[in-house]
Structures are given as structure tokens and as C-alpha cells.
């Protein structure tokens, strides 16, 4: 079977001024495949391009560990960009000094640090093959509104946890620095989980929201006590709704 090219949708404006983009955004919570942002070039009726050759000028994440690093870097770019906009929004600005404001600021710091760390690490090994600076569009998301910001932050963090958990096995530890990359993924994913827990509790304080049944899955019939581990194809299909820079993920490992 030919691998599909995942094409991140380029034109949010094509959607009428409804809540389409917002709704697709929220689909990330269930990690549903958002069909509108997943184009299978090889299967397209009016498209005769070679399915394994990305369109001219479109960046591909690459293969092997480099591909996984570029994938993680793309997700960290999304998170860092989101919190940068949060910090510029009136919800954050109007917060009094205190736990909630510090929490948002900390998460912004952490995600910027993750992004810049990947930029540095990938540039060191593959300066010509690093994911470019991506651009994002959040549709009509209201960065002045607490509920909207926190709900979106929670989705991003829960998705980040599932993405890193799903990527762990894709890292080839026999390749150069592979064991380092696996450990780094572990160092970051638990911080994402700490973020997710905190945002869930800000939304629903003192409840089971921080590790709720609705976000966890079962293993072996022992109960809803495990985070998801989601493959890149599903993560990118879901996240693609807000990434306006086109790229492909044609060569990522799948097992």
C-alpha cells in the first residue's frame, strides 16, 4: 500500500465565517481524523503526481529519527505559538497576579523552551532538513475568553501527551543518539502531562478532571487508567486544521 501524503490544509479562509475551523480544532480532543485536512494525493482523481514525491517546494518531515524529531518540533511550534498568542490576549493580561497567571506564563516558557531546544538539536544534525518555521491560524478562537483559551490549551496538552506516547516506539534507539532521543521524549512528555492535568483542574477544580476517564483508555481490561498513544498520522490529521504552512509526512516510521 502506498503511503499517503498528509497535506496540511492551506486555506482557512475557504471555510465560511462559521465555526468550522473551531470545530475542527476541538476534534483534536477525540483525535478524530479530520478528513478535510488530509489529502491523499495518490488517491485523488484529478491528481497524477507520484504519491511518494511531495509537491515541489513542500517540506517533508523526513524519515527515521530525523522525521520524528521534525514531527515533535512541528507540534512544539504549534504549542509555543498558541501560548504566545495567549500571553498577548486580554484573558491573560487581565488576570491578577497569582497561580493562574503564573501557570500560564510557566507553560508558555516551557513550550518556547521545547521549541527552541528542538530547533537547536535538529539544526545540529540536519541543518538543511529541519521543519521550517510554521504558520498557524486558530480561526475565530477568542484569546480574550478564559473558557476558550483553557479548553484549547487542554486539548493541545492532551494531544501532546498522546503524540509523544505514540512516537516513543518509533524512535530507533540503534541509530546515532537514538537512546538520547527516546529519553528526551520521556523528559518532555511528562511535562506535557503535568500541563494537561493543571489545565483540566483549572477548568474543573477539585474533580477527577486532571486524569479523567474521558481522556484515558483501557489496557487489558484493567480500567481507564492509561494515557493514549496515538500515531503521527492521526495527530497530524487533527492538528493540521490550524497549521497553515503546507508540509508532508510521507516517510515517518510506522512501527
Amino acid at each position: 500500500m502506498k503511503k499517503p501524503i498528509i497535506k496540511v490544509e492551506t486555506s482557512i479562509e475557504n471555510h465560511s465565517k462559521t465555526n468550522n475551523s473551531r470545530r475542527r480544532f476541538l476534534k483534536m480532543g477525540g483525535l478524530a481524523v479530520a478528513g478535510s485536512s488530509l489529502l491523499l494525493y495518490g488517491c485523488s482523481d484529478d491528481d497524477d503526481m507520484d504519491p511518494v514525491t511531495p509537491p515541489d517546494g513542500v517540506f517533508d518531515l523526513g524519515a527515521g529519527n530525523l522525521g520524528i524529531l521534525n514531527y515533535a518540533y512541528a507540534l512544539e511550534q504549534l504549542e509555543a505559538d498558541f501560548y504566545t498568542r495567549v500571553i498577548e490576549g486580554n484573558y491573560y493580561k487581565a488576570l491578577p497576579d497569582g497561580e493562574e497567571k503564573t501557570l500560564l506564563e510557566d507553560v508558555w516558557y516551557h513550550e518556547v523552551i521545547h521549541r527552541e531546544f528542538f530547533r537547536t538539536a535538529i539544526t545540529a544534525v540536519a541543518p538543511d532538513d529541519i521543519t521550517p518555521d510554521l504558520e498557524f491560524d486558530y480561526g475565530d478562537l477568542n484569546f480574550d475568553d478564559r473558557d476558550s483559551v483553557l479548553a484549547t490549551a487542554l486539548i493541545l496538552e492532551d494531544t501532546g501527551v498522546a503524540a509523544y506516547n505514540g512516537a516513543g516506539k518509533l524512535i530507533d534507539v540503534t541509530a546515532a543518539n537514538g537512546d538520547v532521543y527516546l529519553t528526551l521524549a520521556g523528559k518532555i512528555v511528562s511535562v506535557e502531562a503535568r500541563h494537561a492535568s493543571a489545565f483540566a483542574d483549572l477548568i474543573n477544580p477539585g474533580t477527577t478532571a486532571f486524569a479523567r476517564d474521558g481522556i484515558l483508555v483501557d489496557l487489558g481490561g484493567t480500567g481507564l487508567s492509561y494515557d493514549r498513544a496515538t500515531p503521527p498520522s492521526e495527530i497530524l490529521a487533527a492538528a493540521g486544521g490550524f497549521i497553515t504552512t503546507e508540509f508532508t509526512a510521507n516517510q515517518l516510521p510506522t512501527d
Binding site: 497561580e99 503564573t102 501557570l103 510557566d106 508558555w108 516558557y109 516551557h110 518556547v112 523552551i113 521545547h114 527552541e116 531546544f117 537547536t120 538539536a121 509523544y164 506516547n165 516513543g168 516506539k169 524512535i171 530507533d172 534507539v173 540503534t174 543518539n177 537512546d179 538520547v180 527516546l182 529519553t183 528526551l184 520521556g186 523528559k187 518532555i188 512528555v189 511528562s190 511535562v191 502531562a193 503535568r194 500541563h195 492535568s197 493543571a198 483542574d201 477539585g206 474533580t207 477527577t208 486532571f210 486524569a211 479523567r212 484515558l216 483508555v217 483501557d218 489496557l219 487489558g220 481490561g221 484493567t222 480500567g223 487508567s225 492509561y226 494515557d227 493514549r228 498513544a229 512501527d255
Partner: protein
Amino acid sequence: MNLLKILDNLSNEELLNTKSSRRGSISQFTSASKNIALASIPFALAATSSKSKAATATMSAAAFQATPTEVLNFALTLEYLERNFYQIAMDTTGLIPEADRAVFAQILKHETSHVNFFAAALGDAAIDEPTFDFTGKGLGLDTFENYGTFMALSQGFEDTGVRAFKGQAGALANDNDLLTFALQVHSVEARHASQVRRMRGQKGWVTGGTAASNGIPSVFDGIYEGEANTVQGGVELSGLFGDFGGPEAVKEAFDEPLTMAEVNAIATNFIVS
């Protein structure tokens, strides 16, 4: 340890019941977990092929890595510790305020699941349940009389659990399924840790590299030893983020692993046998 054995054990109801019958009265399963839902075994896993990532002889730490069975028993020990800790706390009248019981009931539910999962995965190779002393043996902690002590220990156990699983990722790297299972448990422990930390007035993320910097008595410095690391992937990050929280934010942004020996040195304070 391989996937077939895990699936076989997970689908062996008799074995699950045998394991549970060996446990003491204080650690009885909840009724929900007694009835393992065999129908929900992840059959999809059977279709995955574990790409061999062996050839670990060339990996620097390979000689010191535990076998998968040792790692799973290590995980089971920690999950037993946590499960018993929360079970006793929930059963101790007047310890956990009503407003906080939902949180700890949820954590107990998860730790119980994790015990069942690792015990089933190990089958006959599973260790017997240890006997625990949550006063910290010689430390004389008032763990179940003082909610503050209980909360501090809870944070310590959860943060240790995160570091313990992280430290074994390399030892499981040649088995895709085991590695993924461990990661799926690892991040749930981090969710717990963040919640308990925040209930204690701490940040949800680990701050600095001492017990004191995380609001825990210094006798437990081992829990946070090394968390002040700012070198990641060989890059010193401490001076690069002056506008983004500086070195403290760098420390928070990466959780650090502990070796099995380091974790055991912490856990041994609470394990009688």
C-alpha cells in the same frame, strides 16, 4: 517477556484471580477491578509487530540495563506501594477531607489498574506483594494521622514514579509494545503528580533539585536529586532563555529520570519485605 505472553496472561482469568487472592486484606481490590473485562483485551496489539531494536550491545548503558521482566517487577513494586498507600488513606476515617476524596479515589483507581496490568503481564514471574511501612520505618512519619504528611508523601511517590518509569524507557526500547505500555502509565503518574503538587500549593511541575525546593522534607532529597539539570541533549540551556523564565523554567520544562537503584533507595524506606 514478550507480547504473546502478556496477551496470554491478560486473557487468563484464572491467573488474574490467583494473583489477587494472594493479596492481604488491607489491599483488596475494588469490586470493579475484580471482574477483569476480558472482552476488552487490546486484540489490536496482536497485529503489531515488534520491530527489533536489539543490537543494544553497542549502547553505552546496555550492560547495566535490566531485563524486561526485572523492569516490569520494578514497576509492579512501585504500583503496589502506591496502591496500598492510597487504599489505606481512603480507608482511614477523617484523614482525607471530603472535598479531596474524589481526587484520591481516582488516583487509587489508576494505581489499582496498574497493579493488575503489570501482575497480569508478568504472570508467574510476578513478585509477591511486598509488605509496606508508610511511617518510613525509622523515620516515624505520621503519614495516616496527618493529612499534610500524607499529601507530601503522595507528591513524593508520584514524582518518583514519573522518574522511575522514565528511567526504564531504554531498557524496554527493544519491545515496542512494552515501551508504549510503560509510556501510557508514565504520563498518568505525571498527571497525578501535577494535581497533588497543586493541591499542596506547589507548581504542577518540578522546581529545582532538592526536596525543600519542592516543599518536601529534606530527608527525601533523593526524590528530586538531579532535577536541577539544565543540559539537554548535550546542550547547556540555562543561559539561553533569559526572557522565558531563565534557568528555573529550563529545569521545569524537562523531567529527569532516576535509575532503578536510585528509585529503590527511596522506596526501601517504605518496604519492610
